[in-house]
Structures are given as structure tokens and as C-alpha cells.
Subunit: 326 residues, 2 copies
């Protein structure tokens, strides 16, 4: 147990990831990291924490924690249409578990290289398993996608499929096995930040957010920041075959609307820009789904088969009773 | 208990601190914060974690945790001679304790305004009390003070007095009262980052570090990075009257050498630059203490009354048995 802290950090985290943006001047090993901002770019930063028992079940292997942590964090950069640069990691561990640490750092290293980000600093402390990650990226001034730019008439789009992560969590908590389970659990543990898609849509989108609390809750953040409302078409919600086959249409839709932790993007595009968006997406073989439009009236309404009803924006909330700790 | 996470964050942390460097473009409330780097400056960043029971005793009031957290974090910017800009905060809380949160955020706000840094982002999660803070600052390229520049013959300086924080911790853990206790506990809970002194010495210093693990351990980081050794004069170690009166010379010296968490600066200056350093410090009424010099031979030796003996660099290490959890 009395492994030296500095040796531990050095061993697993000294040379991790890949500085694709070429901005790192000094990495792990001094009091601070030094980063040279590319001329004419703004820095964007986001910090996220995952706690064992709140965000992932006790006993989750290190590789799964790593992919969930980095994927979710980079998703915040995607939501701003930023180019990722580097990250820092604050790791609180109850003990020196070499198997866990090796699995964690190996997977973190693979993904950091894949996304072109380098680990530039960190802190390792003793305590209940908690991981805080801060990601850093670059955007041109005025080009970041904010939550506050949606306009009435804009169409609302989402990337990928929704609700899979919530389904995956359910299979973990209830120890469910079956044909669809591996895909759904992969969607929970291995979120794919939509960095490239974000850059593609950033010329056309008026607002964006990544779906971490659930579609309704996160869309509502856009609506409140933009002082508008939304009408959604539940029948248009993109749901995976795996989720549909496992729980059927009704439950799949519910999780798509409120499940949380999909880490897909939700963004708005003016009607007039849709053809250009479609062209850009087709050229890069990227599919997104239109699920509704922005309205003047605050709040969210669902519309289906001629019926319209309002819904409360609900979301995953760590201080309510909806977490993993149920 | 079912306080909404977003409301909680908004209430206590929405408008905190003071953006003295004028670089914050978008603060708390979107997926990322946006910061405009001043032209021609590099970004320096450092992340630090404090865990209840490891870094401060259970039941420590929020205001004391706030001053310890921000002071220690900004000390890393001082160690690089950086100008502070802003910070992010990842707060893991077991429950919504409004008294604690109010005390914490009020003190954090006071100090953030005092040091000219703004809170630009954060995450609030449920779990055992853990706080991760990332600080951001600016330096001119090539002007950051690294650990790696010390040269044989350089003189070794420290700011302030050493060992007080270790003394303060002892009085807390053993519930000791007395005349010297308030000062020592203040030194533990309210570290003062030496930001101004760092900027003053940065024109002359060849290396610097802040003392978090203890003088010997942190000086050793400089020695290893610079591939040199050091000779220290224990009789020259700056010790406060409070510590001296409470524990006497021998214990005070021991804590000054190995106690940790002083958050004073240790830096090296070439002999030829000493007059200019002295002039600059006198002009700004800042006192520092020369405690020894850099040598060619690796390792640390102590020299006193004609005797010379070598010492092991020991330090505070969260994975050994030396933490608060004894």
C-alpha cells in the first residue's frame, strides 16, 4: 500500500495522449502545465466529475470508467463546436489498485490519442473513488455554439440515437443479460463525443447543447437561455434497434426524452439554412434527425397525430433521488 | 434534500470573483466557459483536489475549506510566476448543507475578488466531500519559472516562515488550545499564495516551486529536475515566533524542513543576481530568506557549526500513512 504517490503518477500518467493541436509547451511534472494558445483563438474549458456509486456502479473496471469519463467530458467541447486540445485529471483513489489503474490509464491513453488530446496535468489523492477531468479546446471568437441563440422557427436536430445509455444503465443495475445488452452497455460506458459533427454544423446552427441530463432537460436549457419554447414530435425521436427490440416503443421513447447521459448533440438551425446543412452532412456521410422546431411560447409541447400536450422538462439530477444510488 | 442541482449551483456560484485580467468572455452557465488569451501570453493551468479526512478534518467549516482550497491552488500559479486569471470548481457533496455552502461560497467569493480571479465553470455532484479546483493564469513565453533551471552556485531562498501549517494541523488534530494556536491554525487554513513576490523574483530566479509536500521534498523536485544537489543551513530556516514559542527550536526546525503545506515559495537565484534581487525586494518591502545554495553533487546535505550530514527528502504523501487520517 505504501506506493510513493509521485511514482504512481509517473508510472501511469506521465506520457498519455497526443497533442494534435500542437499547443502544449510543458506537460505533467511541474507546478503547472504551459499551453500556447493558437493566435486568434479563444480557449474553452469544462470540468466534470464522476463519483463511484453516483455515476457508475461500484466495481466498474478501469477501462469502462476511462471511456465514460473522457467521452462525456469531450462532449462538452463538441457542444461548443470547439477543437479539443488537452486535459487535466484529478484522481481520488481509496487505494493503489494496480489492475484498475492499468486498465484505466491504458484505455484513457488509447482514447486520448484517438481524439488528439494530451494529459497535461493532474493530482492524485487518497479518498473515495472520484474523478474530475477538465478539458480544454479552441474556438474562433464568435464561433462557439452557445445555448442562447435559438430563434422561433428554427428546427431542432439531434445526433445519433437517444435513450440507449439509460437502457444500458438499467441492464447494469438489474444485472440483465441478452442479445441487446452489449450494445446498450457500450453506449453507457463509451459515449462518442460528436466533435466532427459539431464542427460541420457550427456554420449553420444557432444554438447547441450536449445531452447529459436528458433531451427534455437539456433542450430546456437552450429554451431558457434563448427565451423561446419548443414543439417536439415524439414519433421522430431517433431510437436504436437494440433499445426498441429490448423495451418496445413506449419505454424507448420515454428514455429518449428523459433518460440522460446520451452525450449526443441537440442543436437548432434556421429553416433557410437547412439545405446547406443537409448538403454538408451528406458530403461527410453524417446523419442527424429533425425532432421538432423552436416556438415563441416558452415551455415544451409534444405533438403527435393531431394531439398537442405540454411536458415538464425532467432530467437526471444528482441531488434528487434519480441517480445510480437507488 | 431534493434541492435542484441547477438551482443550487446558480444560487451559490453564479457570480463569484473578479476578472482582473479581463479575459473571461463567457462564465458559468453554458457547456464550457470561454476565455480570450491576452495576445502574446501562454496559458498555465494546475488542478488540485482536497478530500475531507485526507486534507482537512471532518467537520471543517466551509469558510476554512474555501481559503485553504483557493490559497493552495493559486500558490501553484505563483510557483510559475503567472498572473492569475480564473478558476473552475468541481464540488462533490454528500448532501445539500446550506450553512456549509453559504460559508464556503462567501469566503471563496471574498478571496477570488481579492486575488482578481473569477469562477468560470464547475460541476456539482453527490458523494463524499471532495473539492477539485483548476486555476488558470498567464505568463510570457519563456518567462515561467520551472523546476529545471537551478545551477550549481545558485543561492536558495524561501518566502515567509516554514512549519507553521504543520504546527496548525497538529493543534487541530490534538484539539490543542493556547496563545499561539489561532496564528498557526490560520497558517494551515489560510495559505497566502506569493503571487506578487513571484513576479518580483521572476526576472532573477532560475527555478521555483511552492512548498506543498515539505521543504526537503519540494526542493528535491527542483534538484532532480535540474540535476543538481543542495546544501542547506538549518540555522537559517525562517520560523515564526508563534511556532518557536509553542514547540521550541528543534521541533520547529523539523516541521520547517518536512512539515508540508506551507505554500511558501522556494526559488534559486544566481549569486551575481542577488544585489538586483535584494534591491527589487527592498523597493517593494518584501522579505525572503537565503537558506543555502545549489551544489553539483546530487542530494541534500545540511550544514551547521562545521558539521555536514546528508538527509532523505521526505514529504507529505497521500499514499503513505502520513495524512490527516492517522
Amino acid at each position: 500500500m505504501a506506493v510513493d504517490e509521485f511514482e504512481l503518477i509517473r508510472h501511469y500518467f506521465s506520457d498519455l495522449g497526443n497533442d494534435k493541436s500542437g499547443s502544449v509547451r510543458l506537460s505533467v511534472g511541474d507546478d503547472c502545465a504551459i499551453i500556447a494558445p493558437p493566435a486568434g483563438y479563444n480557449l474553452v474549458v469544462s470540468i466534470d466529475t464522476m463519483v463511484e456509486g453516483t455515476h457508475f456502479p461500484k466495481g466498474t473496471p478501469g477501462d469502462k470508467v476511462a471511456s465514460r469519463l473522457l467521452g462525456a467530458a469531450l462532449s462538452d467541447l463538441a457542444a461548443m463546436a470547439a477543437v479539443p486540445a488537452c486535459f487535466t485529471l484529478a484522481l481520488t483513489l481509496p487505494e493503489t489498485d494496480n489492475v484498475w489503474l492499468k486498465a484505466f490509464s491504458t484505455r484513457l491513453s488509447e482514447l486520448a490519442s484517438q481524439y488528439g488530446v494530451r494529459l497535461v496535468g493532474g493530482d492524485t489523492t487518497k479518498g473515495p473513488l472520484t474523478l474530475s477531468i477538465q478539458v480544454h479546446g479552441w474556438t474562433k471568437p464568435g464561433k462557439a455554439l452557445l445555448r442562447s441563440g435559438a430563434q422561433p422557427g428554427d428546427r431542432i436536430f439531434v445526433t445519433g440515437t437517444l435513450g440507449d445509455s439509460r437502457g444500458g444503465l438499467e441492464t447494469i443495475l438489474k444485472h440483465i443479460t441478452g442479445e441487446q445488452v452489449p450494445y446498450l452497455q457500450k453506449r453507457f460506458f463509451n459515449p462518442e463525443p460528436r466533435l466532427d459533427t459539431a464542427l460541420l454544423v457550427s456554420d449553420f446552427a444557432t444554438s447547441a447543447i450536449d445531452i447529459s441530463d436528458g433531451l427534455l432537460a437539456d433542450l430546456n436549457h437552450i429554451l431558457v437561455a434563448s427565451r423561446v419554447g419548443a414543439m417536439l414530435h415524439p414519433a421522430e425521436l431517433p431510437v436504436s434497434q437494440s433499445l426498441y427490440r429490448w423495451v418496445g416503443e413506449k419505454q424507448a421513447r420515454e428514455w429518449a426524452l428523459g433518460g440522460g447521459e446520451d452525450f449526443e448533440l441537440c442543436f437548432t438551425v434556421p429553416l433557410l439554412s437547412e439545405p446547406k446543412l443537409a448538403w454538408a452532412l451528406r458530403e461527410h456521410d453524417v446523419a442527424v434527425t429533425c425532432i421538432g422546431q423552436i416556438t415563441e411560447t416558452p415551455g415544451i409541447v409534444l405533438a403527435e397525430e393531431g394531439k398537442v400536450w405540454s411536458v415538464e422538462p425532467q432530467g437526471y439530477n444528482h441531488f434528487s433521488e434519480k441517480g445510480v444510488n437507488r
